[in-house]
């Protein structure tokens, strides 16, 4: 479905981009994503799918977990597209020509809507959904490249912005370095064994006792993947890139590739990690320890809000990798739950930031990313109490304050870590999450308690947040709060997916 719509949209954008406005393309892409999520949901028959169905002569394997994550990716993708739409619409004026319209009214410049944006996003979703179901080295590499090419283009899609192109160039160079590592690992596996399918690799690994050649090549692949999810020793690009790109693109960069790559690491681990090989676990544990520490310590000194969010992403990746490294049933369950709640919270934070920027942009700020510094949010609680409270709730949830959903994610990860005997890492995780609460609290303090300084009183700010954006913010925030009253659907589905992974 995604593939067909990608093809249609290529033709449609080439031919009709003058008649169909870019916002309509965006909405079509949202509908496409929701529909393909529905189709993926329709194919979850656990009895039938069972241990997995190979399609395209075994290049891809459909299991219950790939289908469920596919549904999730499509829904989150639709949300992020909606976010992009909300960050670009001007007030009441129609953007007919799409690409070239720049508004220079008295209110300020708006971000132009690009007709190519939803197309590239659909390419990226195509790469993600084929990545999580790939079961062959060739299809793995091709889907990783499809996804990351789309993301490189997305990072530089606003090519008038200097920071965005610089960030995109950096992202491209380091991302292609990491894909060269992935490719080297997969070609070494092929060179040593002559196998490319994961099934064959699994059989080979379970029969031989210890094979350093295969181990090293698998580790090379994992290093490349960790590079792409910006885990700690390989995280240096993340704050620069995320700070440079526009906010709506950053929301895509932070949430989406991480979901697919982490789920792929989970499946790849299932194929190649065996009990007598410990290098996988050590690599993931070291990376998780470093990401936890660097993510929290680096975030403390940031005054730009997007760098702060980038560091908080690194520390959350640390939690996710901790859950992955333990690799027991409950830790995988906590991994899935943490992934879901983290992406929802993150999308909500970006919605709120875009809404703040939308309300704030009358002050002549940079059009590409309206809210750049934490100080710009000073005293916004007096102006928009509900938005302030929602942002506070999201940040509390990321910090892991008890009644919110983030607490349960962290608690499940820590519980499984302690249960497995990783006391040191659990202790480090607790300490770092306390330290990271400090910088979340600083943002909350700036919003709520700092005095609001009116610099220019002549601009009467009469704009309101768009309906769809406020609807999404309200829904996600209430989801974060009221999760505690009805936790069973999310927890049970995570549990069932995990069980389908372990017992088929």
């Amino acid at each position: 479905m995604v593939l067909f719509s990608v093809l249609t949209m290529i033709v449609a954008i080439a031919l009709f981009s003058l008649r169909i406005s870019a916002i309509n393309f965006n909405r079509i892409a949202i509908i496409v994503l929701i529909y393909s999520g529905f189709l993926a949901y329709n194919t979850i028959y656990t009895d039938l799918v069972g241990s997995g169905i190979g399609v395209f002569s075994g290049l891809f394997q459909i299991t219950a977990i790939t289908q469920s994550i596919d549904v999730f990716i499509c829904l989150i993708g639709a949300l992020v597209l909606l976010l992009g739409e909300n960050s670009t619409i001007g007030t009441g004026t129609s953007l007919k020509d799409g690409v070239t319209v720049k508004q220079s009214s008295m209110i300020g410049k708006y971000l132009p809507v690009l007709a190519e944006y939803p197309l590239i996003v659909l390419f990226s979703v195509l790469g993600m959904s084929s990545l999580i179901s790939s079961s062959d080295l060739v299809s793995m590499f091709l889907s990783i490249e499809l996804q990351s090419f789309a993301v490189y283009i997305l990072a530089t899609i606003y090519r008038d912005s200097e920071s965005a192109t610089a960030a995109g160039l950096k992202y491209f160079l380091l991302g292609s370095l990491s894909s060269a590592f992935i490719l080297l690992g997969s070609s070494l596996i092929y060179g040593f064994t002559g196998l490319t399918s994961f099934e064959g690799l699994y059989m080979l690994c379970s029969t031989t006792t210890s094979n350093h050649a295969i181990e090293i090549s698998v580790l090379l692949i994992v290093v490349g993947l960790l590079f792409k999810v910006s885990a700690a020793p390989f995280h240096n690009w993340a704050p620069d890139v995320y700070d440079g790109v526009p906010t709506m693109v950053m929301s895509w960069l932070v949430t989406m590739p991480k979901i697919s790559l982490l789920v792929f690491i989970l499946e790849f681990q299932g194929f190649t990690q065996l009990s007598n090989w410990s290098s996988w676990t050590y690599l993931l544990l070291i990376s998780s320890l470093l990401s936890l520490m660097i993510g929290t310590i680096g975030g403390l000194s940031q005054y730009r809000i997007k760098r702060l969010l980038a560091y908080s992403t690194i520390s959350h990746v640390g939690f996710l990798l901790l859950a992955l490294a333990i690799n027991s049933e409950e830790s995988i369950e906590s991994f899935l739950f943490y992934l879901i709640q983290y992406s929802l919270t993150n999308v909500n934070v970006f919605f709120i930031l875009i809404a703040f920027g939308y309300l704030l942009h009358s002050r002549g700020l940079a059009p590409y990313s309206p809210v750049q510094f934490i100080n710009q949010l000073k005293g916004q609680f007096q102006m928009n109490p509900l938005l302030g409270i929602s942002l506070a709730i999201c940040l509390f949830s990321m910090a892991g304050i008890p009644p919110l959903v983030g607490f349960f994610g962290k608690q499940m990860v820590l519980y499984s870590a302690v249960h497995n005997g990783n006391f040191f890492l659990a202790l480090v995780a607790i300490l770092t999450s306390v330290v990271s609460a400090a910088y979340y609290l600083r943002v909350i303090k700036v919003i709520h308690f700092d005095p609001y300084t009116v610099t220019d009183t002549n601009v009467v700010n009469k704009e309101t947040v768009t309906t769809s954006s406020s609807l999404v913010i309200a829904t996600l925030t209430l989801l974060l709060i009221f999760f505690i009253f009805n936790p069973t659907p999310l927890l049970n589905s995570a549990h069932l997916i995990t069980l389908s992974l372990f017992y088929w």
Binding site: T165, L169, L173, A180, L183, Y190
Partner: protein
């Protein structure tokens, strides 16, 4: 195999040690990808296996697309900055 490993190492070293311009970094990435292609094709030749050769063709195509995207981003960057030098 040794030849392609040496080529890959040359690519990595060129990527890391280079402090002058971005074109060299793109070329180093190309060298890495082509070294891997050489490795794949050599091993598929010694296995007498068709799969590796198809994989090699895929990798060549991907490398072409990658350098095209990289040059596109580079041109956009050059238009705005006026230079492609990496400042310290």
């Amino acid at each position: 195999m040794n030849l392609s490993m040496v080529l890959f190492l040359i690519g990595i070293l060129g990527f890391i040690l280079n402090r002058k311009n971005i074109i060299l970094m793109l070329i180093s990435i190309e060298i890495m990808l082509l070294a891997v292609t050489l490795l794949i094709i050599l091993s598929s030749f010694s296995f007498d296996d068709i799969l590796g050769q198809t994989y090699g063709i895929y990798v060549i195509a991907i490398a072409g697309a990658e350098s095209a995207i990289g040059l596109g981003i580079l041109v956009a960057y050059y238009r705005l900055r006026g230079s492609i030098a990496i400042k310290s």
